[in-house]
């Protein structure tokens, strides 16, 4: 017994180092597996507060660009509205069909990173604004990521620039689907994998979200094809996609909730059983 105590006292520095290092290592390994509740994330009171203070100073510097982006988006939406084929007739609204499918919340980006291989965004909306895990995050140009952790007033989103991210996407002109991943290299390009060789892939084609995931609505823009090559197996294409969004410069985002999501996922679960 005496010897054990002596051993502990003699090696106390090393033992403490070992303890702290293994705690850190455990947290690291845990953070590398997707869909686990994390203790260490920036959706909390302290980090949210600090980033919020910084943001309130910072946001004045790019007010003009933000206004331009908003004006551009308004123009696009107005064009869409004037060019819709179906004329809306207010007398025929049946309340049982008029239920909305998606709920949109606007949020400010408090922190955005793109230099690591596991990038996250911190947003200033949380549980109090009924934001939950697996809501989609987009801008007027295209998709940004998926909500990962939420606290009372803040949330973190898994960016599409994250090697863990995997999003259902399709080629706009056809209906061939694939999954969107990131290789961790450039913040301008992402990769679309598992696209069947039957798909007529052309450089310059648009990539959109496919409607399969129930996180994003169908048809939200992602980017354009810049190059593609056959997979090693020869059955599928690997496509380089240039993002519409400049992921290095994001100010305001929209968080999208699919209201039918629980219904869809419970249905899918019961089918799988």
């Amino acid at each position: 017994m005496q010897q054990i105590f002596n051993f502990v006292i003699r090696n106390k520095t090393f033992l403490l180092f070992l303890l702290l290092f293994s705690i850190a290592l455990a947290l690291t390994i845990q953070s590398h597996s997707y869909h686990r509740s994390k203790f260490i994330n920036s959706a909390n009171f302290l980090t949210g507060g600090v980033y919020g203070t910084m943001n309130s100073v910072d946001q004045y510097f790019d007010l003009k660009t933000k206004n331009d982006i908003l004006a551009e988006e308004n123009q696009r939406l107005r064009e869409q509205l004037l060019n819709t084929n179906t004329t809306l007739d207010s007398t025929y609204i049946d309340s049982s069909y008029a239920k909305e499918k998606y709920r949109v919340t606007i949020a400010d980006v408090y922190k955005n990173s793109y230099s690591s291989v596991n990038n996250y965004l911190t947003l200033n909306k949380g549980k109090n604004d009924s934001i939950k895990r697996d809501f989609g995050v987009i801008t007027s140009n295209g998709i940004i990521g998926i909500i990962d952790n939420t606290s009372k007033n803040y949330s973190t989103a898994l960016s599409i620039l994250n090697v863990k991210s995997k999003i259902n996407a399709k080629i706009k002109s056809t209906n061939h689907i694939g999954s969107l991943t990131w290789d961790g290299k450039s913040p301008i390009y992402v990769q679309l994998e598992d696209v069947s060789q039957f798909a007529p892939v052309k450089v310059g084609d648009t990539i959109q979200t496919g409607g399969e995931s129930s996180i994003f609505p169908k048809g939200i823009g992602i980017g354009t094809i810049t190059s593609f090559e056959s997979d090693i197996s020869g059955d599928t294409y690997k496509i380089q996609v240039k993002l519409f969004n400049d992921m290095t410069n994001i100010g305001t985002v929209y968080i999208i909730e699919n209201i039918d999501r629980t219904q869809i996922s419970s249905l899918q679960n019961s089918t799988n059983e």
Binding site: S31, V50, T156
Partner: protein, 168 residues
């Protein structure tokens, strides 16, 4: 004694804030960031208890992790740096360390640069291998370690020289 503790607390908070609010967002050439918070570990008083340094470094790394959503990579790297600091001190300052009489504001610049470079490279290689966590991307790890280390070493040496001159 009190003023030493005070200086270290102020240094801790200042370096943490500068790191998470400015240095994490430099992204020079897309991915190169300096990690200057390790200056705190370099300059921690030598005569203080080593256990205290380990715990404080862990806390500092954990806080940086908290702000940058990186799991525990900064904590692991910072604790390792704190643990091997005596070896680094001995190899770069030699006799001065044996006599426990190092003053970072008065040591010659050569040994200071050796000390900081060794520490930075060790810290960064642990940091990036844990962050990328994939043996097949070892080239990416080395690349990031090299470029970020250069950035961090230059900034750290400049900061240490700048602020020690002021105190005289």
């Amino acid at each position: 004694m009190n003023s030493v503790a005070g200086i270290n607390i102020v240094r801790f908070i200042l370096l943490l804030l500068v790191q998470v609010l400015i240095c994490n967002h430099i992204d020079f050439l897309g991915y190169i960031n300096p990690y200057i918070y390790i200056i705190f570990i370099f300059l921690f008083p030598i005569r203080e208890e080593r256990l205290a340094l380990l715990v404080v470094s862990f806390m500092l790394g954990m806080l940086v992790d908290l702000f940058s959503d990186s799991g525990g990579v900064h904590a692991a790297a910072a604790v390792s740096l704190a643990y091997i600091r005596p070896v680094l001190l001995k190899s770069s300052f030699g006799m001065l360390y044996e006599h426990q009489s190092i003053k970072f504001s008065t040591t010659d610049i050569g040994s200071l640069i050796t000390y900081i470079s060794l520490g930075t490279v060790i810290h960064h290689s642990i940091l990036f291998s844990l962050e990328i966590f994939n043996i097949s991307s070892i080239l990416l790890v080395l690349e990031k370690t090299l470029f970020s280390s250069i950035f961090t070493i230059i900034l750290s040496v400049l900061i240490i020289i700048l602020f020690s001159r002021n105190r005289k």
